[in-house]
Structures are given as C-alpha cells and as structure tokens.
C-alpha cells in the first residue's frame, strides 16, 4: 500500500518540533521510529499532510537513574531499553518488556515516546509504564508538564497529549519488588493477544489488549494487597473489562487468558 502525499520537516530540537506542531495544527504528526505511524499511513488510516521528524534528536536518547527515579528520553529505542545495564538493575520490568516488542528491526527503530503517544492498547511498553506508576513529561509551547501514566491513556489510540505537545521524557520509580511480564501471542513479532505486567510484587498490575487502553487491574492489586493468593487475585483480573474480539481471540477467551496470565505473572513476581 502507498501512503498519501505529505510534506516532511526535520526537527532540530524538541522546541522546534513543538513549534512546527503549533504551526501546522492537527495536520501535522511527529515521526519518531515510524513503526506505528508509517504502517498506518500506508493503510491510509493516518493521512497527516506534514511529518515532523524527531527521530534525529539524539539528546532525547538517554537512560538516567538518580535518587530512586529512572528518567528515560522519549527517543530512546526499545533495543536501548532492552540492553541497558542500568535499566536491568533499576527497572528490570521495562527492560524485559522492551525485549519482547516486535522483532529486532522493530526494536531498533521504535521509541518509548512513540509507543506511549501512539496509545495502542495492544502495545507492551505502555502497560509496563502503567504498572510501574510512571510519569510522562510532555513539552508544549508553554513549557513542560507532567502527566501520570494513569491519566495518560485517554481512549483507543488516544492520549492526554495536546496536538502541539511532544513527549520528552518518561520517569518511573526505581523498583525493587518482584516483577514479571507475560506476553501471549502467536508469532514472536506480533502484538500481544493478552499481556500482563506485574510490578512491585503485585502492587502494580496492568493488562495489555483488554480494553480500549492499557488498563490497571485494580481489583487484582487490591486482592494482592489484601493478601489473596495469586490464583485468587487472578480470578478477578478481567472484572469489569470489555476486551475486544478479533481473529485471534474473542472477548471471552481474552478474559480467560487474562486470568491465566495474571496468575502466572503474579506467581513469577513472587506472589504465592
């Protein structure tokens, strides 16, 4: 398939990118790794008339850890998360989730900012950031603002970002407790049919592809907090959720999978 025609601008800095967004309004889109946007354009599900390429902003590619907070630049590639020794120590859930995104070529192009902004409920890293209770730093014409991950995902492929805002950084608390990620798919390169991220021994649990956004499994978190076993906590994993139906799984099967993988993830994260 062939995308519709568009203009292309290279951003020199995050500020420049934001000003270009402000200039072109909702006709413009940021281009980071391009591994979600370009496929959408090829299917003509997205037809931006201006692409603002932020993929060369190397100063937004970093992973730092300071005073119990891990800060990650928005243009950091999935493969950099996957292979970061610092992350393996301070937020191992993120590193291990990154390693399960797509295939190596996807991981070398896709960025953390891009996958969060794209807000695909089937994506892996958004759920991990959610389970970790992370914060998203957005830059707009008026400066930076912090958005809690729990407030960030607004709907199906919709985030709390304004049209002229760009994610510049993602912050998570350095974690120590047991964690695990379960990703269920049919081919290694595919999105999750269902995924479950567990952080801090069940204090943070989130689900992939179980609704219109990545979702916090609050019922599971509450059950764990109240001392329930992994099996009992997992039994409420799909409570209140309206998962999608597609070729791989209908809603009922998805609910079943959410329970199975929540139990497995909780156990692997150290919940008895």
């Amino acid at each position: 398939m062939i995308p519709a025609s568009f203009d292309y601008e290279v951003a020199e800095s995050a500020e420049h990118a934001v000003s270009l967004l402000a200039e072109h309004g909702d006709e413009a889109k940021l281009l980071a790794g391009g591994h979600s946007l370009i496929p959408m354009m090829r299917f003509r599900l997205a037809t931006p008339t201006v692409l603002v390429d932020v993929g060369r902003l190397d100063d937004l590619r970093y992973i730092n850890s300071d005073n119990g907070t891990v800060s990650i630049g928005a243009l950091t590639r999935h493969s950099e998360l996957e292979h970061s020794a610092l992350l393996a120590e301070s937020a191992p859930l993120l590193a291990s989730v990154a390693a399960l995104v797509g295939d190596p070529s996807v991981r070398h192009r896709g960025t953390l900012g891009g996958t969060l902004a794209h807000a695909d409920p089937a994506s892996d890293l958004p759920a991990a950031v959610l389970a970790l209770g992370g914060t998203i730093v957005a830059r707009g014409p008026g400066g930076d603002r912090e958005i809690a991950a729990t407030d960030f995902f607004a709907g199906y492929f919709e985030s709390a970002l304004a049209d002229d805002e760009m994610i510049v950084e993602v912050r998570v608390a350095a974690s120590a407790g047991g964690w695990n990620y379960q990703k269920f798919n049919r081919r290694a390169q595919d999105w999750a049919i269902v995924g479950v991220a567990v952080a801090e021994e069940g204090a943070g649990v989130s689900l992939v592809n179980m609704g219109s956004t990545p979702v916090r499994a609050s019922a599971v978190e509450a059950a764990v907090a109240a001392g329930a076993s992994a099996a009992d906590a997992a039994a409420v994993a799909a409570e209140g959720l309206q998962p999608p139906s597609d070729l791989n799984a209908d809603a009922d099967y998805r609910r079943h999978l959410a329970r199975v993988f929540t139990e497995r993830a909780l156990k692997a994260a150290g919940v008895a």
Partner: protein, 794 residues
C-alpha cells in the same frame, strides 16, 4: 551412479548457492527494480463486493488527480481482448463448466478483488490514488461463500447462466463393486471429515508485470514475475492473437512463487493488450494487500474419507468424496489441482481398492489454483489423519498401523490401486530411521508422566508418512487427464571456444537454485569447474523451449534433460578426440576432463582442446558439423515418487490452547541428491509452510464473502522465530525412472508437515477427549476444542 562427498565430484556436496550473492546484496533485479522509457502505470479498481452487478464506473474524481490519464471500465477495455478470455489449460472432463473469464469484469463482479476498472497514470503513486478515487456503483447479489452451502438445494448461483455451482465431477473408481464389498466385510471402518482451509501463497515478492511493445515490428516483450515464461508466451499469443514468434517473455529474478506464479493472470493480459494498443510500455506492481485477493489461493476443500480395514488394521479399501473450491473462475490449472491428489488418497499403503470422487464448486471468492504440493498435501492430510484414527480404533500405535499397511520394499515397481506405477522406496526403513531419531521411547515416557500428573503442558507425537507423485509429467499421462500441454523439458549444453560452457534450461527457477545444481551436474560430467559453467534461463529469447518450474519437476525432468544434453556433447567430443588420437572411439575413456586411450594417460586430449577444435573446425572428422553443442528434450517415462516419514512432537498448553512444536524429525527419500544443502533448505521451508497450514495460516472470509485477512498482520505467515529446530535426514532409494536416480524435494516438506503437526496436537489432547481439531489449530481453537470435549463452556 554414486553421489558422494568425494571432493573430486561436485554432485552430493554442500556447494554454496551461486545465486545468493546477487540476492543478498540487492544486485538481483526484480520486476519492480526495472523501468522502461515512456512507461505508464496501471492501477486496478477491485471489487469490494463478493457478488454484485456493476451499474456504473465513475472515474471523474480519479481524473482530477495529477498524473492520472485515463479511467477505463471493463466495457471500455473489452474490445482489446475481443473473444479472448483468461485461459484454463486443464478441462479435466469433457463436460466441465468453464465460465468465460475476462481480465476486467464488464457486468458482474464475482469476488472481492475481481478487477472492475483500470486507471492509467504516469506513476505508481498516481495509479494507486486514482484507483482509490474511482467510484463503482454496485447492486449486490447474494454471495456463495461456503462450498457445502454452494451445492445445497436452492443455493444462489455464482454464474447464473450455468444453472449450477458445480464445475465438474471427476471419479476414479477402478472397481466400484470391490470397494463396496470391502466396506461390507470390514471389521473396522473409519470415517472422517476434514476441512482444508484456503491459504494465501504470500511469496516474498508479490506479482509484477511490464509489457513493452516493439511498435515498428509488432513485437511484444512481457516481463513478469512468473514461474512459467514459456507457457505464458503461448497463452498470451493464443489469448490476444499476437503471433507467437513476435512475443518474448522474460522472468527476471522472481522472489518465490509456491505455485501462485504458475498462472496466466488478468494483469498480464491487460498490460500486454494495453501496451500493444497504446504503443508504450505498460506496467503494474501488486501490493501485498492486493495479493490477498488478486493472486490465486491454495487448498479450499472439504474431504470425506473412509477406510475399510480388517481387525488387525490392514486397510482393504479407501473411499474419498471431495468438494473442491474453485473460487469464482477457473484459472490456468484450477480444476486439475484436486486430481493431483486424487491418485494418492491411499498414501504409501498397500490398499487393494480405491474410490475417489471430486466435485468441484464455484464460490464468490478468489480462484484457487496450484499451491505448493497442489492436491497432494490435501490427500496426504486425509489419509494420514485417518490412519491415526484407525490406529486408535484398532488399539495400536501410529507407527504400527503404518508398518502393517506400508507398500513393501520388495514390491517396487508397484502398481497402486489408483493406477500409478510407484518407482522405488523402502517406506519401513524410512519410518524406522525417523522413529530412532525422534527417540520415541523417552518422548512417550515423558508423555505418560505428564498425562499421569494431569500437567497443563501435554505432549503429543504426530506421524506423517507420505508419498507423492513428482516430476510432472509424462506427456501421455497428461493427455489422458485432458491437460492442455506436455510434461517434457528441454536443455541445451553449449561449449564455447574457450571451453567455458553455457547451459540453457527450459525450467524456470524462482528461488530453487537451478544455476548451482545444473552447473554441478554438468561440471561432474565434463570434469570441469562449476564456475566455468553459466546457466541461462527464464527468457524465451535465450531459452526458447521449455515448460517451466512447478510440481517438483525441475531436477527430475529439467535436470535430466541437462544431464542427457551433456552426454550428447560428450559423445561428439569423443568423436573429435578419437579423430585427433587416430584411435577407435570405443577405446577411449574420459578421465579428469580429458579423453585418453584406455589406460594410457600420456596420450590424452583435454576438453579445452576439443572445444577449440570444434570451434575452428580446421580438423574435424569428415562430415561433422562444427561447434560443440547439444539440445535434448526429455519426456519422462513416469512420475517420480518421493516419500518419507516426518515426526512432530508438540507441547500443548492446555490452559491457553497454545501449541509449540518442540521437536521435528524429517526423513525423506528424494532419491539421489545433487546438492544436499539445497535439499535441506527445501525441507526446512517446506515443513514450515506445512506447519503454517496446521497452526497459523487461514484466508478468512466472512459470510458475505469479504476477506478479513488482507495483510501479514492478520494472515499469519510464520517467521524463523516460529520454526522448529528441524532434524533432517534422508534415506536414498534411487529412482529407476531417470539416469540420475533423482525424485524431487520441492513440495515434500509441505506435504508431510501438516498432518504430522495436527496428528501430534490430537495425540497431545487425547486425554482431554479431543479427537480432531480444525485447522489452523490456533490457541483459541484448541482451547475451545478442549472445553467442548470436556463438556464445559466453549
């Protein structure tokens, strides 16, 4: 003849493929890499309806787009082809119904993807934009989607004028009474129904066409990503009435085909017709989504198979009734595909009585046609699944039921109940080797342990013993099946003045490695280096005679032609050498690339000297023509019959239904091997393609005939990450049919793997009460099968 790892010979060695450097560096030229001066692009407007009357085509919005020059409806284009419709070369019965199939529909669209209008533009982008902007007014008609529903009373009709959805019925029942009697007397009868889902071939390179006219002389060069340039040339001439000698067809590098490029497509005829009409090159490149419906699909059958056996599980008769989905039209060999399986439903078993009947059915879907294995994977699936059911009914292991029924090693040549003469084989030895490699005892011990524990990771072992008919095909046999061409293959071996060699082959590689293999064959015979041999192909101006590549025929038919042409060259060279040595030709032997009087290496004439002498013609035997070149057309006396046993070991997660192939053993007998590395590659790819049908791939249509799986996100072609670790071995029984003793390996893996994997899944689920799973055995499908078998929620 022996083929060994002896470094002095090339045949039998793991020689690296000479094709790969150009492919890996991007130097190889595919259709879409080419461009011709003055070319125009075609964009095709495809039906979004499965079945609808075309009320009107409005191109006004498209014509506003920069670069779009014309919008043409089917009616506008009709004069370009006149009476000429897309060809079907295989009218399997005299009364077969074959509706006229125009390259672009004029009044009724018959499937989603059917071409209904054409946009001409100055770029591919403009052509795509233009095609998207054309609006077509449809009046929907009821769609025929399911083949069983299609033959039910009162079903809507795909082709109203035919009065039925049936194209033909083809029976192969040598002795009906004997079959009935066998069933009447059987101690055990097994009856099963299997569904072969439709598959999308999905080669790496979609199709592409450039038609370039030679205006001054009425010539036409057709570049196409095709497996069959030679057949395409004839068919283009016949369809469009262009004199055949004015047509040249070139297949540049072709990125795989799996049978789907064994066809004459609407876009080829369309581009040729437009090029001749407009006097400029006309081109089209298929998009991946377009390929889902514009290129033929594979499989699409509902199979009913019954086995009549005695109490020991010895099968006396097999009875098969098949419904085969043709799709909306008959493409080049659509109707013949089920017949290629129709001779093989008894598998590799010595079964006395045979009954096969195929009813082929039109539906409002993309036409089906040959897809890797073409009929034989379907047949193998049915018999191999049914043999496992029989094993359960009789209470023996799958390997035991097979052993009790195998054609014995000393029975070859063996005349099958379907009337074929099987060439050679030792099916029991092959199975024994596979069993040993699979370490069946420990696998079964682990299986028993997990069953006893009620583990949520159940293990299953699946067998598949197969035999296939390859080397298509003896021309007379094809005649008896009403096929519209022969099955021979041609080769020329041309020795150049400097003793370098050109091999011109009529078979048409699109990934198989002919250049490597053919050069090895010739190098060994001539005693020269394979690098001194060039293999030319896939251009009818260079290789004018040939019947192309499909049906695992290249080596056993095309390679044999090369082998024989090389012999002919050597015969002539021998005469020249005898002349120079003033010796009797019968006293000469050819050793290390030189003729010598037997046992006298001192007086030897090297090949290079003979080549040069043939070129100068200064001193040749009286009456001999100059130059050293030979042409052979080889018509095989019989098919070849590769066979093997594959064993899949799977682990099923009974909580989720997920299936993992944890071990895969393949033992194949493809006769002698020219290049075992290429053989292994064919097995690896073939097995994954077969496993893909078992576990992943499915061309899904909804009840309105809309296809749902139009991209590779939804149509699950597995990748290397899903591939099992293959353990591959061979057992060689040379085929007596051809001088190299080769059989063919291009389709074997695909034929064997599907039933091996499904048999393994069913074996794993046996404790849950599951006796069959539909393909593909996706996690959801398996999970539901378990729930249903256990009477629980589904």
């Amino acid at each position: 003849m022996t083929m060994t790892d002896d470094p002095a010979t090339h045949m039998g060695s793991h020689r690296l493929r000479r094709e790969d450097p150009a492919l890996l560096t991007g130097e190889a030229q595919f259709i879409d890499d080419m461009s011709l001066h003055g070319e125009i692009w075609v964009g095709i407007v495809r039906s979004t309806e499965a079945h609808a009357t075309i009320l009107g085509v409005d191109g006004s919005a498209a014509l506003e787009i920069d670069g779009v020059t014309e919008v043409l409806s089917g009616a506008d284009l009709a004069p370009l082809w006149g009476e000429g419709a897309l060809p079907c070369a295989w009218p399997v019965t005299d009364d077969m119904r074959n509706p006229a199939h125009l390259p672009v529909a004029t009044s009724i669209a018959k499937y989603v993807g059917d071409a209904v209008a054409v946009v001409l533009a100055d770029s591919r982008y403009a052509a795509a934009d233009g095609a998207a902007a054309v609006s077509v007014d449809y009046d929907p008609l009821p769609a025929v989607v399911d083949i069983e529903a299609a033959v039910a009373e009162g079903a809507p009709l795909v082709h109203e004028d035919l009065g039925t959805n049936e194209s033909y019925t083809w029976p192969l029942i040598p002795d009906p009474d004997a079959v009935d009697e066998a069933f009447a007397n059987a101690a055990v009868v097994v009856g099963e129904r299997y569904v072969q889902q439709r598959l999308i071939p999905a080669p790496m390179e979609p199709r592409g066409v450039i038609a370039a006219p030679g205006v001054a002389n009425g010539e036409l060069t057709l570049y196409s990503a095709t497996q069959i340039p030679h057949i395409l040339k004839v068919m283009t001439a016949v369809t469009l009435g262009i004199p055949e000698h004015k047509i040249r067809v070139v297949a540049p590098s072709v990125g795989g085909g799996f049978g789907c490029k064994l066809n004459v497509y609407a876009e080829e005829i369309l581009c040729c017709a437009l090029a001749m009409d407009r006097g400029v090159p006309v081109r089209w490149t298929e998009s991946r989504s377009e390929a889902a419906t514009a290129t033929i699909q594979g499989r699409g059958q509902v199979q009913h198979i019954e086995l009549a056996a005695d109490a020991n599980g010895k099968v006396q008769a097999v009875r098969v009734k098949l419904l085969a989905d043709m799709g909306a039209y008959l493409q080049l060999v659509t109707p013949g595909v089920p017949l290629l399986g129709g001779f093989l439903y008894h598998g590799c078993y010595d079964i006395a009585h045979y009954s096969f009947e195929c009813t082929s059915v039109f539906t409002n879907k993309t036409p089906t046609d040959a897809y890797r294995g073409a009929g034989r994977p379907e047949a193998t699936y049915a018999i191999e699944r049914a043999m496992d059911s029989l094993a359960v009914a009789v209470g023996v292991t799958p390997e035991e039921i097979r052993s009790r029924n195998f054609i014995a090693a000393d029975a070859f040549p063996y005349e099958s109940c379907a009337g074929l003469i099987f060439d050679s084989g030792d099916y029991q030895a092959v199975l024994d080797k596979a069993v040993e490699m699979a370490d069946l005892q420990s696998v079964r011990a682990e299986q028993a342990r997990r069953r006893a524990d009620g583990s949520n990771r159940q293990i299953g072992v699946g067998f598949s013993s197969y035999v296939e008919m390859c080397g298509l095909a003896p021309s007379r046999v094809l005649a008896s099946l009403n096929y519209g061409a022969g099955g021979w293959e041609a080769a020329t071996v041309r020795v150049l003045p400097t003793a370098k060699v050109q091999v011109i082959t009529g078979s048409t590689p699109h990934g198989q490695g002919h250049e490597t293999s053919w050069s090895m064959i010739v190098a060994d015979k001539l005693g020269i280096d394979p690098d001194d041999i060039e293999v030319l192909h896939s251009d009818t101006a260079i290789s004018p005679t040939g019947l192309d590549t499909y049906g695992s025929r290249s080596l056993s038919v095309g390679g044999t032609a090369v082998f024989m042409a090389t012999d002919k060259v050597l015969d002539k060279a021998r005469l020249i050498a005898a002349h120079q040595l003033e010796a009797n030709e019968d006293d000469l032997e050819y050793v290390d690339g030189a003729f010598q009087v037997k046992g006298t290496p001192t007086a030897a004439v090297p090949f290079a000297a003979i080549a040069f002498a043939a070129f100068t013609a200064h001193d040749l035997p009286d009456g001999m023509e100059p130059n050293l070149e030979a042409h052979v057309t080889y018509d095989p006396p019989n098919f070849t019959f590769p066979n093997g046993t594959h064993i899949a070991v799977v682990e099923v997660d009974t909580d989720t239904g997920n299936v993992d192939i944890v071990d895969y053993v393949a033992v194949d007998d493809c006769g002698n091997q020219v290049n075992p590395m290429i053989v292994e590659g064919q097995v690896h790819g073939g097995v994954l393609q077969g496993a893909a049908q078992a576990l992943y791939e499915d061309a899904v249509y909804n009840e309105d005939g809309q296809i749902v799986t139009v991209n590779l996100g939804d149509y699950l072609v597995p990748s290397a990450a899903e591939a099992p670790i293959y353990r591959v071995a061979s057992h060689v029984t040379p085929s007596p049919t051809n001088p190299m003793g080769v059989k063919g390996i291009g389709e074997a893996g695909t034929i064997a793997a599907t039933p091996a994997v499904i048999n393994a899944v069913v074996d794993a689920l046996r404790p849950t009460g599951v006796t069959d799973v539909t393909m593909p055995a996706s996690p959801q499908t398996v999970w539901r099968a378990i729930n249903e078998a256990q009477g629980g929620a589904s």
